[in-house]
């Protein structure tokens, strides 16, 4: 990476002047923390006492038998406190906020996992907290909205643009340019202006460090392939960093295929051919945009993957051929989720289920003495409404109707 935050031709910091000094301060605080071995030790300690690190690597015996190919291991980021890998980034940035002496944090959220993690961190560290969330995402991830509010955060409904993640990011920036003195913007993924991609990737690298060690302990060798879903790319970068130096390990990023790559209703920036280079939200990457540079409406059943841009680090690794990109459709995701629940008793988040889809497509063709890792970035509890709806679950519907009647009667 260059000192201006470029990964190959991707990245940079296209920020308004009013934030220039704020970014200088953040870059310095991050550089100091990175130099300071004590900081990382404290971070690991915090994550192992407040969250559940190291998260286990689970051998999925039944799924392995079912597909009859390589051994399937699952990295259990769902067992982090708050239920997803998002906590890794958030707690790390929280420690930086303390160092910088700021008192208020803001964040965008799509699936609500990053919002819940930020609200949790704010409660623990004693920060004021405001979360920006698109109206469409609020509707589909309602349980997380409830928890954010209960944790003491203010949740602001974003009604501009496409009312999803990118619009929440814009609103968070608008807040930040107004209150940068006391506020830190806890960006939730490896996107945005430098130093966010590098910083978030650093905190998330804890996933890959553990996974590399664990697979060697349990399986005795490195895996053949590693699968991760890619929204902004933070869980993927997290686990990939444990294997980037081993070219024999193939890294596979799985984007949201939505209704299919040909449908125009997806969020695949790198898989497929709809993405093109652009500059928005403070950085340069591959975006889903029209010929004139207007961002497009994206679609995915998974709110956390429903985003127009992708990490500049991953765009670079894609361009260099180090990471292969695939897409999983909404329908495939539901099937993979169902199978994983039935076979392993695990409930992956809709986002994470994208990684399972691609692994399931390939694993039967890999020799049985090989292994693959699927990064289970989060748990599916937050998706109960969406999943119940997709399965058209009769008893759940009855329950919701009864509950509705109960509230109406009062």
């Amino acid at each position: 990476m260059s000192n201006k935050g470029y990964f190959g031709q991707w990245g940079g910091a296209f920020i308004p002047e009013v934030l220039f000094e704020t970014f200088q301060e953040l870059k310095e605080a991050f550089a100091e923390a990175r130099q300071d071995e004590q900081f990382w030790r404290e971070y690991v300690n915090l994550m192992s006492t407040y969250s559940c690190r190291p998260t286990p690597l689970t051998f999925a015996e039944n799924l392995t038998r079912h597909f009859g190919g390589a051994r399937i291991y699952i990295k259990r980021e769902d067992l982090n406190h708050t239920g997803a890998h998002k906590a890794n980034n958030v707690m790390g940035q929280g420690m930086l906020v303390k160092r910088m002496g700021k008192k208020r944090v803001i964040a965008e959220t799509g699936a609500g996992q990053h919002g819940v993690a930020t609200a949790t961190m704010a409660a623990k560290f004693g920060f004021e907290c405001t979360i920006y969330m698109g109206e469409e995402d609020i509707m589909r991830q309602r349980p997380n909205v409830f928890w954010m509010e209960k944790l003491g955060a203010t949740v602001v409904t974003v009604t501009s643009g496409t009312r999803t993640l990118k619009d929440a990011i814009n609103e968070a920036f608008r807040d930040w340019v107004t209150r940068m003195d006391d506020t830190h913007y806890v960006l939730g993924t490896v996107c945005g202006p430098h130093p966010f991609p590098e910083m978030v990737a650093w905190f998330q690298s804890i996933i890959g460090q553990e996974a590399n060690r664990q697979i060697q302990e349990q399986f005795g060798a490195l895996p053949d392939r590693v699968y991760a879903c890619v929204g902004g790319g933070s869980n993927a970068m997290g686990i990939f960093q444990g294997f980037l130096d081993h070219p024999e390990v193939e890294l596979v990023g799985v984007e949201a295929g939505g209704r299919g790559l040909d449908s125009g209703r997806h969020a695949s920036r790198l898989a497929g051919t709809d993405g093109s280079a652009g500059v928005a939200q403070g950085y340069k990457t591959m975006f889903l945009q029209n010929d004139e540079g207007q961002m497009q409406d994206t679609h995915s059943v998974a709110a956390g993957l429903d985003y127009v841009g992708v990490s500049p680090i991953l765009a670079d690794l894609w361009e260099k051929g180090r990471v292969r990109f695939e897409a999983a459709t909404d329908e495939e995701v539901m099937a993979a989720l169902d199978l994983t629940m039935k076979k392993e008793g695990l409930i992956p988040a809709l986002e994470s289920s994208h990684a399972f889809v691609q692994a399931f497509k390939e694993v039967g063709d890999i020799e049985t003495d090989k292994a693959v890792i699927i990064n289970m970035s989060g748990r599916g509890d937050k998706d109960i409404f969406t999943i119940a709806h997709a399965f058209d679950d009769p008893s759940w519907k009855e329950f919701i109707i009864a509950k509705g009647d109960e509230y109406v009667a009062r």
Partner: protein
């Protein structure tokens, strides 16, 4: 003639205490309304106009301009139409016009082609809030090559050293953002502001334009002697929304004695 020369000429010829620059969002609510608004503005003495090419992610703008961008795009406004409209307007009126937009619009059009086109249709300068000098190697060299003033932005958070550095890249005038935040909320003109504008003055010999939250004659009056150009943005957009195109002229006239 360059933008800097234009501004000097307006200042000397017309003996104005302060110049006025106004802002429109192209295609909002329609090009037809844009046409009427520009006419009212020019006929009532506006000295410069910035025309915003709408972008789907207007990060530095407040709610009113965000909505204007969004509505313009939903109406089907394209960059191509904006360029065509701008060509017509610069043909019609003899004041300097600038483009304001976000960098992706230039990037997707092709930076070189965009500068070439803007020059060809007699645009005098560009305001691109997400283009800092650190990212602008080709942007600034092309601005020089095509003699389009790259308008640099100062903010209250800019240090003196930073202002000096920024001014070195700029031409035409400096856009001094009056306060932190996005477009559209009122600015309080107090000691803190005076101190800031003093620092701006120290940092550059270029004319100073002050924008963000200027909405009334008192604001413009206050800036006389402190700045060279007062920028009216959100206010006229709201005015057109509420009272229609014909209300613009009187409002503009009332901003200066």
């Amino acid at each position: 003639m360059s933008l800097a020369e234009d501004i000097k000429q307006i200042q000397s010829k017309q003996d104005k205490k302060i110049l006025l620059m106004t802002h429109i969002v192209l295609g909002y609510p329609s090009f037809e309304v844009n046409r009427g608004v520009v006419r009212q503005m020019v006929e009532n003495g506006v000295d410069l106009i910035e025309m915003q090419i709408p972008f789907s992610e207007p990060m530095a703008d407040g709610p009113v301009i965000v909505k204007a961008n969004q509505d313009a795009l939903e109406n089907g406004t394209t960059v191509a139409q904006c360029l065509e409209f701008a060509a017509e307007i610069t043909e019609t009126y003899d004041i300097p016009f600038l483009f304001m937009t976000y960098y992706n619009i230039l990037f997707k059009y092709g930076e070189e082609d965009f500068f070439k086109k803007a020059k060809k249709i007699n645009i005098k300068g560009l305001i691109v809030p997400d283009m800092p000098p650190e990212e602008g190697e080709t942007y600034f060299s092309r601005a020089r090559k095509y003699e389009l003033a790259p308008i640099m932005i100062f903010a209250p958070t800019s240090t003196n050293a930073r202002m000096k550095n920024l001014a070195g890249y700029g031409d035409g005038f400096i856009y001094c953002v009056a306060r932190k935040g996005v477009t559209g909320t009122q600015t309080s003109f107090d000691d803190e502001f005076n101190n800031y504008i003093g620092r701006c003055r120290q940092a550059t010999d270029l004319p100073l334009a002050v924008g963000f939250g200027i909405s009334a004659r008192e604001d413009v009056d206050y800036l006389i002697g402190k700045a060279d150009i007062a920028v009216i943005g959100t206010k006229t957009i709201k005015l057109v929304e509420k009272k229609g195109v014909d209300s613009v002229g009187l409002f503009i006239k009332g901003l200066r004695r």
